[in-house]
């Protein structure tokens, strides 16, 4: 059987490469622990409830019952995050100037004292110049709160009103975006930085040269590497999913099988870049700068650490065509938005085009020594 004989080296090389990864502590750190560290850092930043909230200081200078109740009400409102430490204007000012607080709400002496029939008063909102938007929206939020209180006190029905209702519970949180970006980042680490370091070393030691004297074909060697990298990468990504679900309450709604297929395609795409650079470079000095030039734009523009929709429109249009962009978008679309592979025509098409370009280049530039 000729095809069996052709695949024997692919399977044998892949098997041994996988075993070797699990024996190498440094490799284990970079493949498994390193992405998890990023997951915890970014999960800590973006994993919180993403409802718009204001960090405020509440300075209550009044002694009325109403003012005490009012402060308690603010504290239980999710929109406000009250910094208890800033209980004087001086402390609040200091934090506002550093951008740690959005505004300070001051309830002046006598706020909430009964005047005539109802308790009344005028709360003041202070904000620094560079936080004008937050300060003004906070003022209007408070205005709304007071209108509500006024309405309950005076019992007059308001002719116009607004009710806000949640549309669905599947809206994307900041963490959902961050997570698929982090997967993209770990695929870059595994697929580009891995081979870019390994191949020049294999050349330096003459290991590829030895293989070159055997009948081993370049495609067999490439395929073996693709298989082992995909297997190791899938393990690493599975662990990231497990941690994200357990610790950061990631909601995975897509089909797992389709997700695996898509992730493997993503790994193959990105690994091709590492293979092309590492396979071409004669030594580390050639490999390192080229891999940085190729990798850094993708890290910053493909949505690894912050979503692409935050970029100016022209930049979004350009960065849509980077090889990593369809990888990250597709993973997010399947995993958190529950899309199917059949919905991902544009992403699959773009990835397919990149696979052809990247592997064509990799085969052309590969050198055994």
């Amino acid at each position: 059987m000729n095809w069996k004989r052709n695949l024997l080296p692919v399977i044998t090389f892949a098997k041994i490469a996988i075993r070797r990864t699990f024996r190498d502590r440094l490799a284990l750190f970079f493949v498994f622990l390193f992405p998890l560290i990023f997951l915890f850092i970014f999960g800590g930043i973006f994993g919180k409830n993403s409802a718009a909230s204001f960090s405020v200081a509440v300075i209550n200078q009044s002694h009325s019952t109403f003012s005490k109740q009012f402060v308690g009400q603010l504290g239980s409102n999710k929109i406000f995050k009250i910094d208890d430490a800033s209980n004087t204007m001086a402390k609040a000012n200091e934090k506002m100037n550093r951008g740690q607080l959005d505004a300070a709400i001051v309830l002046p002496p006598g706020f909430g004292d009964i005047q005539g029939k109802y308790p009344s008063g005028r709360a003041q909102v202070y904000y620094s110049q560079n936080n004008a938007t937050a300060g003004q929206s906070l003022a209007s939020v408070l205005d709304g709160v007071f209108k509500g209180i006024n309405a309950t006190l005076t019992q007059t029905p308001a002719p116009f009103s607004v009710t806000a209702t949640q549309t669905n519970d599947k809206g994307l949180t900041a963490f959902d975006y961050t997570f698929s970006g982090l997967l993209g980042f770990s695929i870059i680490g595994l697929g580009i930085f891995g081979p870019v370091n390994v191949f020049p070393e294999l050349k330096k030691q003459g290991i590829l040269r030895r293989l070159h004297t055997t009948p081993l074909r370049v495609w067999q060697y490439f395929l073996a590497n693709m298989v082992s990298q995909s297997a190791v990468g899938l393990c690493s990504i599975a662990i990231m999913f497990a941690v994200a679900i357990a610790v950061f309450h990631l909601k995975v709604s897509g089909n797992i099988f389709e997700l695996i297929v898509y992730i493997v395609l993503g790994i193959i795409t990105i690994f091709g870049i590492g293979l092309a650079i590492g396979g071409w470079a004669a030594n580390e000095r050639q490999a390192a700068p080229l891999s940085n030039i190729v990798t850094f734009p993708m890290i910053f523009l493909s949505g690894t650490f912050f979503p692409r929709f935050l970029m100016p429109e022209w930049l979004q249009k350009v960065s849509a065509f980077l090889p990593l962009t369809p990888v990250i978008d597709g993973i997010r679309l399947i995993a958190t938005e529950g899309k199917n592979l059949t919905d991902l025509g544009p992403q699959l098409g773009l990835m397919g085009a990149w696979i052809v370009i990247i592997y064509f280049t990799a085969f052309r530039v590969f050198r055994w020594e």
Binding site: R5, T12, R23, Q205, R210, T214, P215
Partner: protein, 252 residues
């Protein structure tokens, strides 16, 4: 089947302005040990690499067992075994795995334990190459280069950097390989090694072969020219003393 195993004709190699191999021709018989000697930079390794199919040929031809090395490269690779100058093995891969991996490159499966036993490494199958001594590495490298039973075996300076015991052990191994009918082509810096092992030697300098004959004939030709050694040849030398004192047993 071609009569001669290896026929090299007018072989040339240039690196930019430097002519590394200047049109050399030689033939290697089946079953012999053929040595290529010469100072550093003489073109020995380049010549070997062109025959091993890993360097392109700029001029001339190489026929190996009736196969043209430039045209039938893939077929040639199945019948050659190559031992590189440095051991060149990946770390954190067991010896048995290394052998399985190399054999798979030829589309073959091997009994790794049996192969290791042939070079006295049967206890080391589960170890990594990095834990072997220099001599053990060299012996392992040989068995790894022979996993596919090649017709011809190329060795580039196999004993450089080994201690006298390990060198003697390697000489025995090379003789055993010859006994199995494998043709050996090797380069070396050690004249006593060439004299002891090689059936014929080619001496290279500046990219040319300046002499080619059996070691005995080459010595005879020199003596016929009226050569007198500068110092009296003793019946034994310091290495003999060393071996006598420390024994022939391998130290690894």
């Amino acid at each position: 089947m071609a009569e001669k195993l290896l026929v090299v004709k007018d072989l040339k190699k240039r690196y930019d302005d430097f002519e590394a191999v200047k049109g050399i021709s030689f033939e290697v018989e089946r079953g012999e040990i053929f040595g290529i000697l010469g100072p550093n930079g003489a073109g020995k390794t380049t010549t070997l690499e062109m025959i091993e199919t890993i360097k392109s040929i700029d001029g001339g031809s190489i026929m190996l067992d009736g196969l043209d090395v430039t045209k039938e490269t893939q077929k040639v690779k199945y019948i050659i075994g190559v031992q590189p100058q440095s051991p060149a093995f990946m770390d954190k891969v067991k010896l048995t795995e290394q052998l399985e991996q190399l054999a798979s490159a030829y589309g073959e499966r091997v009994n790794a334990k049996k192969l290791l036993k042939e070079v006295g490494l049967e206890d080391k199958g589960g170890d990594y190459v990095e834990s072997l001594s220099g001599g053990q590495k060299q012996r392992f490298s040989i068995v790894a280069s022979l996993v596919h039973n090649p017709k011809v075996f190329f060795m580039d300076e196999p004993t450089t950097g080994l201690d006298p015991q390990a060198r003697r052990n390697l000489w025995d191994l090379i003789s055993d390989i010859k006994k199995k009918g494998v043709t050996v082509v090797m380069t070396t810096h050690y004249m006593e090694e060439a004299e002891l092992l090689c059936d014929r030697v080619a001496i290279m300098d500046n990219g040319e072969i300046i002499a080619l004959d059996t070691p005995k004939n080459l010595v005879k030709q020199l003596l016929d020219k009226g050569f007198k050694p500068t110092r009296k040849v003793e019946q034994a030398n310091l290495e003999d003393v060393f071996i006598d004192l420390t024994g022939k047993d391998l130290r690894d």
